[in-house]
């Protein structure tokens, strides 16, 4: 190929930069859609997977495993039934079980979930690549009305150690009443994890019992008020919890342990392997994902049809120019390359611009998506599936460019040195 042809193609494209710029934008937007959805998909998967690393089983009252996982770990969806405290104690006694962490959910603070648990939570909970929790400031909860808050809770409300906060009964849209009579003191702030932990207010299991002492059936008992200082005198052993995280001595025991728990006689329980439940979850959302990807593929197809149309439309005005090139020695093949290059140039610029837009979007919207959906958007170079997607886009662009290229080739042959106008 004549090395001057790409230069000529670039000069010609620059000459029509406004029109072609629109095409670049349209290709870029299809890249944003296609790669963006793929990226959201993988980011969601990693984020979810990283939020439960190191837990072998999640145990709760018998329910849909995916629902249990979503509620217990991601605070998404409706509350499941509780499991009885004796079942939890029995679970902890299972010889295969190394550790258990009880989880008690249902209350909230300014939209953040309140989690009742024990000190074991700070010992055994793992996120990311099996990273333990780290307390950035302060200490674990010790007193009944102590609380340890996640990084986002602290930044969102500007809380510092020693601040007093009150919890609300219920979560999300169904906040019913304030536990205003029993304020908590912030004694610890966790380091950021990029998981739902950051948006959680942690208190002891006993505290959850204490704030509900004067409650019955989800509402305060009228006329009954138990001041905070008296709450300690009650038996604060919980009657039930939402779920338990379980770690085994030996991972290979997981199926046996799961079978044992599922067969528990005292109470119907379900033991969920987080990885398996997540796989089920992704299978469930798979159809929606494929629809989205299909729509984006259509958008990409539309922009490439537009690209062909625009380059073809420009061809009419360029017949004379092509004849000039023919007269100075350009072969029909050179004319073909010139036109094909233009399409390729638009495609490549579109891909680069699309990736730039994606990066910008990830850094601008990252915070929002994280707090809202618990998904960490990673700013990174395309890899794996994304790369093959980009290659497919470029290949389509190249194929689309062959159309005007071929048309110009035919024209060069038919027109000779003087274009027919």
């Amino acid at each position: 190929m004549n090395p001057f042809i790409p230069i000529l193609a670039a000069r010609s494209a620059w000459n029509r930069r406004l029109t072609l710029g629109m095409m670049v934008l349209s290709v870029a937007l299809s890249v944003v859609l296609l790669v963006g959805i793929e990226r959201l998909r993988t980011d969601a998967r990693t984020s979810f997977a990283e939020a439960v690393s190191g837990t072998d089983l999640i145990v709760g009252a018998r329910a849909n495993p995916v629902e249990l996982l979503l509620y217990a770990v991601f605070r998404i969806g409706a509350a499941t039934n509780n499991m009885g405290w004796p079942s939890y104690l029995a679970l902890a006694d299972d010889p295969a079980v190394a550790w258990t962490v009880p989880l008690s959910l249902g209350d909230s603070h300014r939209g953040f979930a309140v989690l009742g648990t024990t000190s074991a939570y700070f010992d055994h909970f793992r996120h990311g690549d099996r990273t333990p929790l780290k307390i950035a400031q302060g200490k674990r909860f010790e007193q009944l009305f102590d609380t340890v808050i996640g990084a986002d809770v602290a930044t969102a409300s500007g809380y510092r150690l020693g601040d007093r906060i009150t919890l609300s009964h219920g979560a999300g849209d169904t906040v019913l009443a304030e536990h205003g009579d029993k304020p908590f003191t912030v004694v610890g702030i966790l380091a950021r994890t990029g998981t739902p932990v950051d948006r959680t207010v942690h208190v002891s299991l006993e505290a959850i019992e204490a704030i509900h002492l004067n409650w019955q059936g989800g509402a305060p008992v009228p006329g009954l008020s138990i001041p905070a200082e008296f709450a300690r005198k009650f038996n604060l052993t919980p009657k039930s919890i939402t779920a338990a995280l379980v770690g085994l001595h030996n991972r290979s025991d997981v199926f046996a342990a799961q079978r044992r728990i599922n067969a528990a006689r005292a109470e119907p329980l379900v033991a969920v392997m987080p990885g398996v439940a997540l796989d089920n979850l992704w299978q469930m959302v798979g159809t929606a994902e494929r629809t989205m990807t299909g729509i984006s593929a259509l958008v990409a197809a539309v922009s490439f049809i537009g690209l062909v149309a625009v380059v073809l439309a420009g061809l009419g005005e360029r017949r004379r120019e092509l004849a000039v090139l023919r007269s100075v020695g350009a072969a029909p093949r050179d004319v073909f390359t010139l036109l094909a290059f233009e399409g390729l140039l638009i495609t490549l610029s579109g891909v680069v611009l699309g990736l730039a837009l994606l990066t910008a979007a990830a850094s601008l919207l990252g915070e929002f998506v994280l707090t809202r959906y618990g998904v960490v958007l990673r700013v990174r170079l395309p890899d794996g599936a994304e790369l093959s997607m980009l290659l497919a886009i470029i290949a389509t662009g190249l194929a689309a460019s062959l159309v005007p290229g071929y048309r110009a080739y035919r024209m060069a042959l038919a027109d000779g040195l003087a274009p027919r106008l």
Binding site: N2, W14, N15, A323, S327, G329, A331, G416
Partner: protein, 238 residues
Amino acid sequence: MSPSQAILIENVRFRWKPDLPWCLEIPRLSLGLGESLFLHGPSGSGKSTLLNLIGGVVIADQGGVHVLGCDFRHTRATARDRIRADHIGFLFQQFNLVPYLTVVENVLLPCRFSKRRAERCLLQSASPLAEARRLLARLDIAPNLLQRRVTELSIGQQQRVAAARSIIGAPEIIVADEPTSALDAGRQMAFLELLLEQCAQSSSSLLFVSHDRRLESAFSRTLALDEINQAHAKERDA
């Protein structure tokens, strides 16, 4: 073997499409080395078609078109493109230039497609760029115009830029298809003299096509296409 003729056309018949009548039927037409030939004929007589045959862009249905001793009957399309790039400078009535390139870039265009013409620039100048500047100066293009886009030039200026482009790299043959018709009478003569002078300097043969007979005195030979073109003679008889 060095050819005795720059262009030799023998018993050529050509039509644009198989279902059309012959457009050209020429028993013999030649252009000698260093010769300047004035070819005239009414509109539609096939002048531009003849130039397409000489450029090797289309191929005769019968007979031989020889350019610098090369018989186009036995030359592949790519080789004909090469010959056109290396040995022929074309100059048209209008639409000679690539609109998005600068004046200098347009003049240098043949050197981009022909190494030979780029190298032959060095006979006169230090580089193709210097040669382009030299030719443009000779053709009275002000230095401040060189980096302008050609669309900002007047028609007359564009014609001279196109002339510089046809001459650069001293091709053996220069083919001009009514290059002066957009110019006024005074400028036509001046332009023609410049063109002839440049051809003489690089000892190029010039085939000059026009229907304006006032210019023919400047050439060494004149030919009427409709007299040698049998196709049109028959048409008239019919």
